[in-house]
């Protein structure tokens, strides 16, 4: 930044300088409040976060402690969701599973968002062979259906929770890279970037302080749409047997072992599956709502 702008900006408080961002955020929150379905999604997600954090307090039993005398009990006052084939309380397992599902999702996105965005802006800003290599790699990874690629990697690395996260992370980055690249291409032509370049601001600084913040909003919106997907793919992998392993209270795994008791003890596979549905539904509701609000193209019709 040149000296001139610095002297102007120091006269204002931080709040004043960011007034336009604040009004944007306010406008965004107002739109969220107006849309009931988005609010419902937000409520579900906040509820899930609460359950994940408070699971040790909320759960009436130990999620992995076996009690063979009480195996396959139907839902009752002492076991609201019944017990499984080893006498473990299903409610407690479902509650503890929430944290597991959220953990997988958060870690995957924490790896993928920065990675994808970084590759995308580098490709978009520098162009040339670097762009070509990164984007063709993205094309190749996008040619696999996600679950299939994730399962192949999960199988090769060996089934475990860590490998599930690695496997899903490998499948997700191209989406963010593509988005960030597209944004970068349009931002890089703008006058203020030209101005920065002309006063000799280093490239990395332009990337980090101007381009990165401007493309993060689109990619974050896209990531909220992927949150549910990540949870669903992780559950699918452990259902197949390529993800979390027993005795972890992972929902997909619980549905998988519960399959054998489907007919006579319906509650064993039903409740964990319902938990997956509600969780993914909550994230999709929220993501869908945020996308609608953030995309002015769709908002125009309102």
């Amino acid at each position: 930044m040149s000296m001139n702008t610095k002297t102007i900006t120091t006269n204002k408080t931080w709040r004043e300088r960011h007034a336009s961002e604040f009004s944007q955020i306010r406008e965004f929150l107002f739109a969220v409040k107006k849309s009931k379905l988005t609010l419902a999604g937000l409520a579900i997600v906040l509820g899930l976060v609460f359950v994940a954090l408070a699971a040790p307090l909320l759960a009436p039993y130990d999620p992995v402690k076996m009690d063979l005398a009480n195996r396959l009990q139907a839902p009752s006052a002492s076991h609201w969701m019944g017990t499984d084939e080893l006498g473990r309380d299903i409610l407690s397992r479902v509650l503890f599973g929430t944290g597991l599902a959220l953990k997988i999702m958060i870690i995957v996105l924490l790896i993928d968002l920065p990675l994808g965005v970084l590759l995308g802006i580098v490709a978009g800003y520098f162009g040339g062979w670097l762009d070509e290599v990164i984007m063709r790699l993205a094309d190749i990874f996008m040619a696999f259906p996600r679950l299939v690629l994730a399962m192949a990697i999960g199988a090769a690395l060996g089934p475990s929770l860590t490998n599930t996260m690695i496997a899903i992370a490998v499948t997700l980055w191209p989406t963010y890279a593509r988005l960030a690249r597209g944004e970068t291409l349009s931002i890089k032509e703008r006058t203020f970037i030209e101005a920065e370049k002309s006063i000799g601001t280093p490239k990395w600084k332009i990337l980090v302080s101007y381009i990165l913040p401007l493309c993060s909003s689109t990619t974050i919106v896209r990531a909220t749409l992927d949150m549910g997907n990540v949870i669903r793919i992780a559950a699918g992998m452990s259902f197949i047997g390529l993800g979390a392993q027993a005795p972890m209270p992972e929902w997909g795994l619980m549905v998988s072992t519960g399959r054998d008791f489907l007919v006579n003890q319906w509650w064993v596979p039903t409740f964990p599956g319902l938990a997956i549905l509600v969780t993914v539904f909550g994230f999709n509701l929220l993501g869908d709502g945020i996308r609608d609000i953030a995309d002015p193209h769709l908002r125009r019709g309102d």
Partner: protein, 336 residues
Amino acid sequence: MSFSRYLFKRLALFFLVIFGVVTVTFIICRMVPADPVGAILGESAPQELVEKTERMLGLHLPLYQQYLRTLKGVATLDLGIALRTNNPVTTDLKKYFPATLELVIFAMIIAIVFGIALGIVAAIKRNRWPDTLSRIFSLVGISMPAFWLGLLIILFFFYHIPLLPAGGRLAPYLSPPPTVTGMYTVDSLIAGDFQTFWNALYHLLGPALVLGWIQMAYIGRVTRSSMLEILNEEYIRTARVKGLSEGKVIFRHAFRNAAITVITMIGISVGFMLEGSVLTETVFGYPGLGRYSVNAFLALDLNAVVGSVTLIALCYASSNLLVDLLYGFLDPRVRS
């Protein structure tokens, strides 16, 4: 850019992507820390047999030779023997792929018909209860774990109300129709065998409903948003002002123009369905490509993994190619 140049560039990318897919699959198969031969043969297998199997898989060769062997195998459609089934992988794929194709086609019909209807209704009744209802219905579909929905359908419509068959592609008392396409419904019609046709269709019902609902949700959402965009256009207002009936405005003018986005979505759906078929086929015990690939993953049957993953990615990439070409043909702006 002219369409022929666009076509050339897009085709070149397609072949590059397929080459990349085979390479990535090869790398995945070779990063196996576990011992794939041991996984198939068991730990107490005699040394000779282990060595023989390793030689058959080419595992004794240096890595670059193994890679060339895989590339050559894919190019010549000779992928070696699948250890789990003891058949050539290509023979297995020929048997299982039509089953999945058939399933995907039927699911797609369900998804398209109901998805488009849902989307149009939601767009016309925007922000009123039919829209909210269809939004919830779609989002539940998108959020539904396919394997769990499959289990519930089996529980209700097989055990409680016996409406659906137990699994597989045909009742045990029927023999498959003579193979032409490998799709039982089509082959039985060619053979004029209606009993087999209805039975095959009946076996498709459960898995096709599961796959179809999930895709219906996506298609419904896309139809809604592209219809909304078009219903705001000037020429729709003009059509209304002209005094055309609402039905004509919706179907003749609006939907026709929304269709291009919907077609794109259908192309993308093919990929989602292939993905969904992996879980759905496993739950319903439907012997298709999805279940074959899962079994190959679980057994670390490397030749079968390479074959099935490449085939699935090939289908996915081809449907994307078709969509892009169609789009490029219809809309010159895409070509740049």
